[in-house]
C-alpha cells in the first residue's frame, strides 16, 4: 500500500483535529501507529470478526477505525526539529502567548478559564473574568489541571483485559453487544457516570436511554452530596451571614464567586458584614468568621430547629448561650441576612434552614433556590446496582469518568461485582483501580484536548475548547456516546457544534457560536431564577437520634485531592492543606480536649473502628475541632493512582457505608502506640507572641485606625550605612489585604505553575525543603478549643534594605532600578547565606536536582519565559518579573508608560478575594499606593529596618458586641 493511495481515505478522516498536525501525507502514512492500525485492520482484525458481521457493518467499522487511526496518529510527539512556519498562522507570534477561553469542570460544574498557550502548548490556566463562576479567579484544581494534562501517568491507550488494544477493536466488541441490548431495551445494561451538566452530552445520554430504555443510569460523585438542593447565595447582599457547616468561601462550584463577593462586603466600614460559622472541622470559611462555634455534626443538625424556636421567642434551655444574641442579630438584619446550610447536612436540616431564610425574608434577596437540577438524575443507588451485577441481572456496565472500585462505599463489593460483569467498560483519564477491574478501559481526553460544554453553578452555559492535540490516544466522551448511538466516524467538535446549532436554531448561528467559543460562555445563558418551589412543611421536632456519648466520625472530601481523582497531581499533593499544612497524606483530625480525654497523642497511629470496619490512621490534634469527633479526608490510600499518587495516606472509603456516606456516631478509636512522622510545611502553629498578623475589632479600628502601625518601632529610612536607592521610574510594590485573604492557597499553586517551581516529594518536605515561592502561613491564636485562625500569604518582601543582598559574596541577588530584589540564577554559587539572613525565610534552595529533565510531556508544561533552575542555586519570588518585562515591552512598543493593573503577578491573578494588589508605588494614583496609605497598612518585621516592599493590610473582625462575654 503506497502512502498516496490513502489520499481519499484521509479525506474521510475528520479534519478538525488531524489536519493541523500532519505536515504531509507521507508523514501520516509513515507513522508506525498508522501502519500498525492499517495492518491490524485489514488482514488480522477481519479474521477475528465473527461471521455474522455483515458487509455493511464491516464497512461502517472500517470508517470508524480510520477515524480512530486519525486519533491514534494524532499523538503529539515532542518536536525534534526546528522548522520555521512556511505560512505563519494568524496571530501566532513566536514568543508571544495566546489566550483561549475554555472551561474547567469539577463534579460536573464548569468554571471558566483562560488558557495561556505558547506555540501550541498550554502552559498556564487563569480565570475567565467573563465567566460567572470564575470572575477571573481560579481555585487550586483549575491551576493544577495543566499539570494533569501533561501527566505522563495518564492512560495512553485502550486496554482490553489489561493489554493494549485499539478503539476499533473495542468498537467491534461493542457492535456485538449492542445487538443484544437493543433486543431487550438494555435491561441488563447500566451506566455509571460522574456528575454531568454538559447539555450536549446529556442530550446524547437521553438519546442513548431512548435507544435502551431499560438501561439504568447512576450518577456517582463521591465527594458531592447530590441530594443537596441547589442554593444560589448572593453573599454581597447579606450583612449578616450564618453558615451551618457550609464552607461556602472555599468549597463547591460557586466558591470563587462567593469569595469575591464576600470580600467586597468585608471592607471595614459601615457596610462590613458579619460572619457566624458553626462547624465541626475548622474550615477556611470558619477562619474568616467573626464568631466561630465548633460543634459536632449531630448538634449542628439540631441547630436550625433551635434557631427557629428562638425566633418564635421560645426559650430553650438546651440551646447554647450564644444562640439568642445571634438570632437577635439575624432578626435585626431580616432580609439582609443569609443562612447557609452545609452540603453534608441531612435533608431535614436543609429544609429547616430554607424555611428560616424564608421567615427572615432573605429568599429572593440574599438567596435563591433554583428549580432545575443540574446534574443528571440518578435513579438507582450504587448498592442496588452492585447486587444486580453480582446476581447477573446486569451484565454490561459503562463507567464514565468515575472510579467506583476505589470510591464506592465499603459495604458495596463493587470490584467483585464488576468482575462478574461480562462487558464492563471504563472511560477515564487514568487506568485506575476501576480500569483494572473492567474488561475494557478507554482513555479519556483531558478537558484541554477536548471539545465540550458544561453548565456553571448558576446555569451559565460554558464552552470547553481544546488547546492542544490529544497527547495520547484518548477518546472524547462525545465520541463514545456517539458510538453507542451507532454514529461514526464522529468527532467531538462536530457533535458539540451541531448540538448547539440545533438548540440555538438561529440564522446567525456561526457568529453566535464563534462568540461563545471566544468568550467561553454562551451570552445570556444564565437561567433567570424562577419562583422557588415551595419548601416542604416543617417536620415535627424529632428527638436527636445521634445523641450519645460516643465519638462521631466525619468523612469529608480532601481539600486538594478531592475524592482521590487528583491523587497523581504533584502540585496538589505538595500544596499544604489549609488548616494543618500537611502535604502528601491525610490524617485523622481530633480536638485537643478529646485527644487528651482519650489519652491519645498527636501523630500517634490509631485504629479507627466504625461499623465493624477498621483502618489505621495517624492522628492530628487540630485546635478548633469540635469535641468528640474525628474527621478523615477521602482521596488517599490509592493503589493505582500512578507513580505520584499511589500508596500515600490511608483510605477513608474503607469506613464509608452507603447509608452513612459522611460518617456518624459510633466511632471507636484505639491507640496503637506507634508514632507517625508527618510531612508538613509548618511545624509551629502559634505566633509565639509576635505581631506578625495584626488584627483588631471593628470598634477598635474605628477608634485607632492606625493600630497596626503602632506595634513595634519602625526605624527611620536613613538608619543604614549604605546610600539609599533612588527610583526615577517605576517602583514595584505589593499589598496583601489580610482582611480579604481566605487562606485558600491558590496563590501558591498559581505561582508554582507560572514559575516552573518543581515538586520535591514527601521526603524532601519532611526535610524542610519545599520550594513554594509564596506560602500561606497559618497561625492559631487564643484557646485551643476556640482559636482565632489567621492566614498570611508570604512572598518575597523585596526589601529596600534587603539583608540577602549584602551577604551574597558574588552579587547574585541584588537590587534593580525598579526596586526589585532580583535573583541571578546563573551567578549564584549556592552559599545559602542569603536564605540564612532572610528574616522572612522566603528563599528556596535547590538542594538536589529537583527538576524533571527526562519526562517529555513535562517539558511541554513549562513556562518558556521562566528559567528552569539547576541544582545548587537559590530561588525566590520575583514578583513575576517575566510579566513585568512583558508589560514593559508592550508599553514601550506603544510608546506609553505601564498602566496600573497591567501587570498582575500569578498569585494576584488567581486570588478569588482580590487580596493581593501589585503595582507602582511611585505612582500615587495606583491601587497599591492607595492601599499603602491605608491606616491598616503595615510591614512585616519592619522593626528590623528591612523596609519591605510587600506590605500587609491588617485584618479586621466585626464581632457582635452582645457576644463579647459569651
Amino acid at each position: 500500500m503506497t502512502p498516496h493511495s490513502l489520499t481519499d481515505l484521509q479525506k474521510r478522516i475528520p479534519a478538525a483535529r488531524g489536519a493541523l498536525l500532519w505536515k504531509s501525507l507521507d508523514q501520516l502514512a509513515n507513522t508506525p501507529e498508522f501502519r500498525e492500525a492499517i495492518e491490524r485492520e485489514f488482514p488480522v482484525a477481519a479474521d477475528e470478526w465473527p461471521d455474522a458481521l455483515s458487509r455493511r457493518r464491516f464497512l461502517i467499522l472500517m470508517g470508524a477505525s480510520l477515524a480512530a487511526a486519525g486519533l491514534t496518529s494524532c499523538s503529539r510527539q515532542p518536536i525534534e526539529k526546528l522548522v520555521p512556519y512556511v505560512k505563519q498562522p494568524e496571530d501566532l507570534v513566536p514568543g508571544k502567548p495566546l489566550h483561549f477561553a475554555s472551561s474547567n469542570v469539577l463534579g460536573g460544574f464548569a468554571r471558566g478559564v483562560l488558557v495561556e498557550s505558547h506555540e501550541g502548548r498550554p502552559t498556564k490556566i487563569e480565570g475567565n473574568p467573563g465567566h460567572p463562576a470564575s470572575l477571573g479567579a481560579t481555585d487550586v484544581f483549575m491551576q493544577a489541571a495543566i499539570l494533569q494534562l501533561y501527566d505522563p501517568d495518564r492512560s495512553q491507550t485502550v486496554l482490553h483485559r489489561g493489554f493494549a488494544s485499539t478503539w476499533d477493536a473495542f468498537l467491534a466488541a461493542l457492535l456485538q453487544e449492542e445487538n443484544e441490548w437493543a433486543r431487550d431495551g438494555g435491561t441488563r445494561l447500566a451506566f455509571v457516570t460522574g456528575g454531568v451538566t454538559s447539555p450536549s452530552l446529556r442530550y446524547h445520554f437521553r438519546r442513548i436511554s431512548e435507544r435502551f430504555p431499560n438501561a439504568r443510569w447512576i450518577v456517582h460523585e463521591p465527594a458531592c452530596n447530590l441530594e443537596t438542593p441547589r442554593v444560589l447565595p448572593s453573599v454581597d447582599r447579606a450583612g449578616v451571614v450564618l453558615s451551618l457547616d457550609a464552607d461556602f468561601l472555599a468549597w463547591g462550584p460557586g466558591m470563587l464567586t462567593n469569595a469575591r463577593t464576600f470580600a467586597r462586603r468585608r471592607e471595614p466600614g459601615n457596610t462590613m458584614n458579619r460572619l457566624y460559622v458553626v462547624e465541626s472541622v475548622p474550615s477556611l470559611t470558619g477562619a474568616m468568621a467573626d464568631h466561630r462555634f465548633p460543634m459536632t455534626p449531630s448538634d449542628i443538625v439540631r441547630l436550625p430547629e433551635q434557631i427557629s424556636a428562638e425566633m418564635r421567642g421560645a426559650t430553650n434551655p438546651a440551646a447554647p448561650p450564644w444562640l439568642p444574641p445571634l438570632v437577635r442579630d439575624l432578626r435585626k438584619h431580616a432580609g439582609d441576612s443569609l443562612i447557609l446550610a452545609g452540603e453534608f447536612l441531612p435533608d431535614s436540616a436543609q429544609n429547616e434552614i430554607r424555611l428560616l431564610n424564608e421567615e427572615l425574608g432573605n429568599v429572593g434577596r440574599t438567596v435563591t433556590y433554583p428549580t432545575e437540577a443540574l446534574t443528571f438524575p440518578g435513579t438507582h443507588a450504587l448498592t442496588e446496582l452492585a447486587s444486580q451485577m453480582l446476581s447477573g441481572s446486569i451484565n454490561a456496565v459503562f463507567l464514565l469518568d468515575c472510579n467506583p472500585v476505589y470510591t464506592a462505599p465499603a459495604d458495596i463489593p463493587f470490584a467483585e461485582a464488576l468482575r462478574k460483569v461480562s462487558f464492563s467498560v471504563h472511560h477515564g483519564l487514568y487506568a485506575d483501580e476501576t480500569a483494572e477491574a473492567c474488561r475494557w478501559h478507554l482513555p479519556d481526553l483531558h478537558a484541554l484536548e477536548n471539545w465540550g460544554d458544561a453548565l456553571a453553578f448558576d446555569g451559565t452555559i460554558s464552552i470547553i475548547q481544546p488547546l492542544i492535540e490529544p497527547l495520547y490516544n484518548g477518546i472524547s466522551p462525545h465520541v463514545l456516546a456517539a458510538a453507542l448511538l451507532k454514529q461514526w466516524p464522529a468527532n467531538d467538535y462536530d457533535i458539540v457544534r451541531s448540538y448547539w446549532r440545533g438548540i440555538l436554531a438561529n440564522d446567525d448561528f456561526e457568529s453566535l457560536w464563534r462568540q461563545a467559543v471566544h468568550d467561553g460562555v454562551m451570552a445570556g445563558s444564565v437561567s433567570t431564577p424562577a419562583a422557588p418551589p415551595p419548601a416542604a412543611p416543617r417536620a415535627p421536632p424529632s428527638p436527636n437520634p445521634n445523641a450519645g456519648s460516643g465519638l462521631e466520625l466525619l468523612i469529608r472530601p480532601d481539600p486538594h485531592v478531592y475524592d482521590g481523582r487528583f491523587a497523581n497531581n504533584g502540585w496538589l499533593q505538595e500544596l499544604p492543606k489549609p488548616m494543618t499544612k500537611i502535604v502528601w497524606e491525610n490524617a485523622a483530625h481530633i480536638a485537643p480536649a478529646t485527644a487528651e480525654r482519650l489519652g491519645l497523642h498527636h501523630a500517634e497511629e490509631v485504629d479507627l473502628i466504625y461499623r465493624g470496619r477498621s483502618i489505621r490512621a495517624p492522628l492530628w490534634v487540630l485546635p478548633g475541632m469540635a469535641e468528640n469527633c474525628v474527621e478523615v479526608a477521602l482521596g488517599y490510600g490509592r493503589t493505582r493512582a500512578g507513580k505520584v499518587g499511589s500508596g500515600l495516606g490511608f483510605n477513608s472509603y474503607q469506613l464509608r457505608t452507603a447509608d452513612a456516606p459522611w460518617g456518624g456516631p459510633g466511632l471507636e478509636v484505639r491507640a496503637t502506640g506507634r508514632m507517625h512522622r508527618f510531612a508538613t510545611t509548618q511545624e509551629h502553629n502559634t505566633m509565639a507572641g509576635r505581631d506578625l498578623v495584626r488584627f483588631a475589632d471593628l470598634t477598635m479600628y474605628r477608634e485607632t485606625p492606625h493600630f497596626a502601625q503602632q506595634h513595634g518601632h519602625t526605624p527611620a529610612p536613613d538608619q543604614t550605612l549604605y546610600p539609599p536607592f533612588t527610583y526615577d521610574g517605576n517602583a514595584w510594590g505589593m499589598a496583601i489585604d489580610l482582611n480579604a485573604c481566605t487562606g485558600c492557597s491558590v496563590c501558591t499553586i498559581a505561582c508554582q505553575a507560572e514559575n516552573n517551581i518543581p515538586v520535591v516529594g514527601r521526603d524532601q518536605v519532611q526535610r524542610g525543603r519545599e520550594m513554594h515561592w509564596i506560602r500561606v502561613d497559618r497561625y492559631f491564636r487564643g484557646t485551643v478549643e476556640r482559636p482565632d485562625i489567621l492566614h498570611q500569604p508570604v512572598p518575597c518582601m523585596h526589601c529596600e534594605n534587603a539583608p540577602c543582598e549584602t551577604v551574597c559574596p558574588v552579587a547574585a541577588t541584588l537590587h534593580d532600578h525598579e526596586g526589585l530584589n532580583v535573583m541571578v540564577y546563573n551567578r549564584c554559587i549556592g552559599t545559602r547565606y542569603c536564605s540564612n539572613n532572610c528574616p522572612y525565610k522566603v528563599r528556596r534552595f535547590n538542594f538536589l536536582s529537583y527538576v524533571d529533565h527526562s519526562t517529555p510531556t513535562l517539558k511541554l508544561q513549562r513556562n518558556p519565559n521562566v528559567t528552569v533552575r539547576s541544582r545548587g542555586v537559590m530561588e525566590k519570588c520575583t514578583y513575576c518579573i517575566q510579566r513585568i518585562n512583558f508589560a514593559r515591552m508592550n508599553a514601550r512598543n506603544q510608546n506609553r508608560s505601564i498602566r496600573d493593573g497591567e501587570i498582575i503577578p500569578a498569585c494576584a491573578q488567581a486570588c478569588p478575594a482580590e487580596a493581593i494588589v501589585f503595582g507602582n508605588i511611585n505612582d500615587p494614583d495606583s491601587r497599591v499606593s492607595k492601599l499603602r496609605t491605608d491606616p491598616r497598612n503595615y510591614g512585616l518585621l519592619a522593626e528590623l529596618n528591612t523596609r519591605p516592599r510587600t506590605t500587609y493590610l491588617a485584618k479586621i473582625f466585626n464581632p457582635n458586641p452582645e457576644l463579647k462575654n459569651v
Binding site: A688, R690, G768, T806, C808, R843, R844, S849, V873
Partner: protein
C-alpha cells in the same frame, strides 16, 4: 663546650631518629591506617556530594548551614593555637614554646586545610567557587565586597599562606640537619633541596632570625583577625544569636581555647609514644593548660554576656533565642557546650590535674567536643528558630553529615601521622639552642 656538643648531638639524634632511623612501628601503622580509612570516608562523602548535591546533608530552609560551617569554624579555631604559640609566644619570649611550636604549626596548617575545604564543598555549585575571588574576567564582575564571605576568603587565604611560610622558614635549619644526617643519597638530596643550601653560618642565622621575627610579627595580627573575620559571618547578619558585637573577641578566645585543647590532644599521646617527656615536659602541659583556663574563662564570659544582653536589651527575638537555646530542641547541645567549655576547664585550677597527662588528655578532648558544640549551637539553634514561627524547622544530620565530619578528622590525622614520620616534629635547632644556652 664538649658537653654542649654532646647535648646538641643528643638532641639531634633523639629528634631526627624518629624521621631517619626509626622504622614505622605497629602503633603508628595502626593510627595511620585508621586515619587513612576515615580519609577514604571523606573521599566517598565528597564524591557523593559532588554527584548528588548538598541535599545529601540534613540542611534545609531555615537551617541553610549546619555541620559544614560548624566544622569550618571549628577547624579554623583549632588552627589558631599554632600561630599563637609560634608567633605571639615568640614575641613574648616564652621560651617553653620551642618544644611544641613545630607541632602546633603543623597542626595549624592541617587544620586550616580541613577548614578551607568546608566553604568550598558547602557551595551548591562548587565548580564555580572561584567567582568569589577577584580576578579579571569577561563578565566584568567582581565579588560583592559587602559580604563577610568575601572577607573570609581573604582572611583564610592570608592565614594559610603566612602559616605555611612561617612553618617552612622554621624548618630550614632542621632540614639541613636532616640532610646532614640522612644515609641514602636520594634522601640527602631531597632534604638538601628543601634546606635551600643552609650551611649554619652566622650570616644565615642572622638573616633567618630577622625573617623569623618579622614573620612572627606578621602572623600575630592574623591570630586576631582571622577569627574576627570568621565571626563577622555571623555578627554582620541580622539573625538573633548571630547579630552580636561581642563575637570577634569571643571567637578569638574560643579559637585559642580549642586550639590549645587540640595541641594537648595530639601532643600527650605523641610525647608518650616517642618518649619525648624530656623535651615536652609537664611544664609545657601546665603552661598550655593555663592558657586554656584563661581563654576558657573568656569564653565563659562571652556566654554569660550573651545571656545578659538578651535580658537587658529587652529584644523579644533575642530573649526567645536564649531561652530556646537553653530549653528547646537542641538544649542538650547547649548544656553539653556549657559543661565542656565552662564546667570542665574549672578543673584546670588544680595544679595536680594540669600536670597529669591523662586527666589533661581527657579534659582536652572534652573541650574539643565542647567547642564543636558551641559552633553548632551558634549556627544551628540560631537558624532553626528565627523570626517567623511559620518557618521554624529542625535540622537532623544525615549519615553524610557525620561522614564528612569524621572524614575531615581522618584527613587531619592522616596529615599529622605523615608529618610525624617525614619531618622533625620538634624544632631541632631551637631545642639545641635552648639546651646549650641553659649551660653557661
Amino acid at each position: 663546650m664538649n658537653s654542649a656538643v654532646k647535648e646538641c648531638e643528643r638532641v639531634n639524634e633523639q629528634i631526627s631518629a624518629i624521621v631517619l632511623k626509626r622504622p614505622p612501628r605497629r602503633g603508628w601503622l595502626f593510627g595511620f591506617g585508621i586515619s587513612f580509612c576515615f580519609l577514604m570516608v571523606l573521599n566517598l562523602a565528597i564524591g557523593c556530594l559532588f554527584l548528588k548535591g548538598v541535599g545529601i546533608w540534613g540542611i534545609n530552609i531555615p537551617v541553610g548551614w549546619a555541620f559544614d560551617i560548624t566544622n569550618f569554624v571549628w577547624w579554623i579555631g583549632i588552627g589558631h593555637a599554632g600561630t599563637f604559640i609560634s608567633a605571639i609566644l615568640l614575641l613574648l619570649h616564652q621560651d617553653w614554646r620551642t618544644s611544641i611550636n613545630r607541632f602546633a604549626e603543623a597542626m595549624t596548617i592541617f587544620a586550616v586545610a580541613c577548614a578551607g575545604m568546608f566553604p568550598l564543598i558547602h557551595l551548591g555549585r562548587p565548580q564555580v567557587f572561584y567567582w568569589i575571588l577577584p580576578y579579571p574576567n569577561t563578565m566584568d564582575l567582581w565579588p560583592q565586597w559587602r559580604s563577610p564571605l568575601v572577607w573570609d576568603v581573604f582572611a583564610v587565604f592570608t592565614y594559610l599562606t603566612v602559616s605555611i611560610v612561617f612553618w617552612y622558614l622554621g624548618l630550614i635549619p632542621d632540614l639541613a640537619t636532616l640532610r646532614d644526617r640522612a644515609r641514602p643519597l636520594w634522601l640527602r638530596r631531597l632534604f638538601g633541596v628543601f634546606a635551600l643550601g643552609w650551611r649554619n653560618s652566622i650570616k644565615h642565622w642572622k638573616r633567618y632570625e630577622t625573617a623569623y621575627l618579622l614573620l612572627a610579627g606578621l602572623a600575630t595580627p592574623l591570630v586576631i583577625s582571622v577569627h574576627s573575620v570568621v565571626s563577622f559571618d555571623f555578627a554582620v547578619s541580622l539573625i538573633p544569636g548571630w547579630h552580636s558585637t561581642i563575637f570577634p573577641p569571643y571567637f578569638v578566645a574560643g579559637a585559642i581555647f580549642s586550639g590549645f585543647a587540640m595541641v594537648l590532644t595530639l601532643i600527650i599521646p605523641v610525647r608518650k609514644f616517642y618518649r619525648l617527656e624530656n623535651l615536652i615536659t609537664d611544664t609545657h602541659l601546665d603552661n598550655s593548660a593555663k592558657v586554656m583556663l584563661a581563654t576558657g574563662l573568656l569564653v565563659a564570659f562571652g556566654y554569660l554576656n550573651e545571656i545578659f544582653t538578651a535580658w537587658y536589651s529587652d529584644e523579644e527575638f533575642d530573649a526567645y533565642l536564649t531561652l530556646n537555646r537553653m530549653l528547646g530542641y537542641y538544649a542538650w547541645v547547649y548544656w553539653l557546650m556549657m559543661a565542656c567549655n565552662v564546667g570542665v576547664p574549672q578543673l584546670l585550677w588544680f595544679r595536680k590535674l594540669r600536670r597529669d597527662p591523662t586527666s589533661l588528655f581527657v579534659i582536652s578532648l572534652l573541650i574539643n567536643l565542647g567547642m564543636w558544640a558551641e559552633r553548632f549551637v551558634i549556627i544551628v539553634t540560631s537558624l532553626h528558630r528565627d523570626f517567623l514561627p511559620s518557618s521554624w524547622g529542625i535540622f537532623r544530620p544525615t549519615i553524610w553529615d557525620w561522614a564528612t565530619l569524621m572524614g575531615s578528622l581522618g584527613l587531619f590525622f592522616t596529615l599529622i601521622f605523615v608529618f610525624i614520620r617525614l619531618l622533625p616534629m620538634i624544632s631541632i635547632s631551637e631545642v639545641r639552642r635552648a639546651a646549650t644556652e641553659k649551660r653557661p
